[in-house]
């Protein structure tokens, strides 16, 4: 499956994931507090520099990740031109793009395993309370493993529909699709129990 992480390894990959996340939280809160266009323009320019530093391949991948914002950018620009409030429009536009851009930057430069380690660390107080976070970790692994499996099964159902009907695949295929997921859940639960279940897992 494709991932949203960077195509090239950057220096930021070696920075601790928890620190990057904490910094992102602080900057995002400050962005929503700041009302000056110049501050927003400055942070936006700084973000562009960060995107450009690791080279053109990284820069292009970053722009691709931010493409989903275009409709909102166009709409905001039109709105603020029509109502002639360019200052407020500039602040809102820059803030939106910078907030999404910085968060995407953290995603691009942090490996999945590092982020899962942060989640495990965040769950420490839960473990202290006696909750088993092994459930959570098993569940994360199951979703990562079974999303492509379900995707394949869903695509096969659509193919089967197309082979038999000239019409577009309809909502009716969601029923067998969901039944397949329920049956998979049953089989996995049985397999887990056969191996001792959650009781056999060491914390």
């Amino acid at each position: 499956m494709i991932s949203l992480t960077s195509p090239v390894r950057t220096r930021a990959h070696d920075w601790p994931a928890g620190a990057k996340l904490a910094a992102l939280c602080v900057v995002t809160v400050l962005l929503f507090k700041a009302q000056s266009l110049w501050i927003h323009a400055g942070v936006f320019a700084g973000m562009l520099v960060l995107y450009r530093l690791p080279g053109p391949v990284f820069f292009r991948a970053g722009l691709r990740a931010l493409r989903v914002l275009w409709p909102f950018v166009v709409m905001l620009a039109l709105y603020h031109l029509v109502t002639w409030t360019p200052y407020a429009g500039g602040v809102i536009l820059l803030r939106m793009v910078t907030a999404v851009g910085l968060a995407t930057l953290v995603t691009m430069t942090t490996q999945l395993s590092d982020l899962i380690a942060v989640v495990r660390w965040l769950a420490t107080p839960l473990r202290a309370l006696g909750l088993k976070t092994a459930y959570l970790e098993t569940a994360i692994a199951l979703v990562i493993r079974f999303t492509p499996v379900l995707l394949t099964k869903g695509t096969k159902l659509i193919d089967a529909w197309r082979a038999r009907s000239p019409r577009r695949p309809g909502w009716r295929i969601i029923l067998p699709f969901t039944v397949l997921a329920l049956d998979d859940a049953d089989h996995i639960a049985e397999a887990l129990r056969a191996r001792g279940g959650f009781d056999a897992m060491k914390e």
């Binding site: 939106m96 019409r167 699709f177």
Partner: protein, 181 residues
């Protein structure tokens, strides 16, 4: 216990798969991505608590950077984007949908699950979604509502489908429909 964890995980995967399979057609030929249908089904099939947990698990994986949202979006950026309010509303929508399905036991399941999906999956979800839009885009609530109003008819169809699917699933796999177990 194992079964509940695997059901929650598989439904999280189902939400992702419903958003990523090629678009399917609703009645009247409206093409949709079925991701919000997945949110409704989490509530109507798994019930309030487990449905919300499945959605939270899905969102956790999106935040960790897996491209599981419709259109292959994901990562931390989606939580600061204009549509972040909808993501915040997802687990609450599933919880409310599940709660109504669990409590309302008179009459056919298709009706109660369908109405639950309208209240949870549309009313509650759009409250959060519109709030998020108005916050990030700096617009008033009526203006933000105008932006998303076009999607509401499609979502009402999805809620009706979620109701029918839940009734059919309760017949096909009664042991797995936890909202009525």
């Amino acid at each position: 216990m194992e079964k509940h964890v695997t059901l929650i995980a598989l439904f999280a995967a189902l939400i992702a798969a419903l958003g990523l399979i090629p678009q399917i057609a609703l009645p009247f030929g409206v093409p949709i991505t079925a991701q919000s249908l997945g949110i409704m089904l989490c509530g109507t099939v798994l019930g309030a608590k487990r449905g919300a947990l499945a959605v939270l698990l899905f969102l956790l994986l999106v935040a960790l950077g897996l491209p599981l949202l419709a259109g292959g979006r994901g990562g931390l950026g989606v939580f600061t984007s204009p549509t972040a309010g909808f993501l915040v509303g997802f687990p609450i929508a599933a919880f409310v949908t599940g709660l109504i399905t669990e409590k309302w036991r008179k009459g056919p399941l298709a009706v109660s699950a369908g109405v639950a999906s309208v209240i949870g999956g549309i009313v509650v979800l759009y409250l959060f979604g519109i709030g998020g839009l108005s916050l990030v885009l700096g617009k008033s609530v009526p203006e933000a509502t105008m932006l998303v109003a076009a999607f509401i008819p499609g979502d009402i169809l999805k809620a009706a489908i979620a109701g029918m699917l839940t009734a059919a699933l309760a017949k096909a796999r009664p042991a797995s429909v936890l909202s009525r177990a």
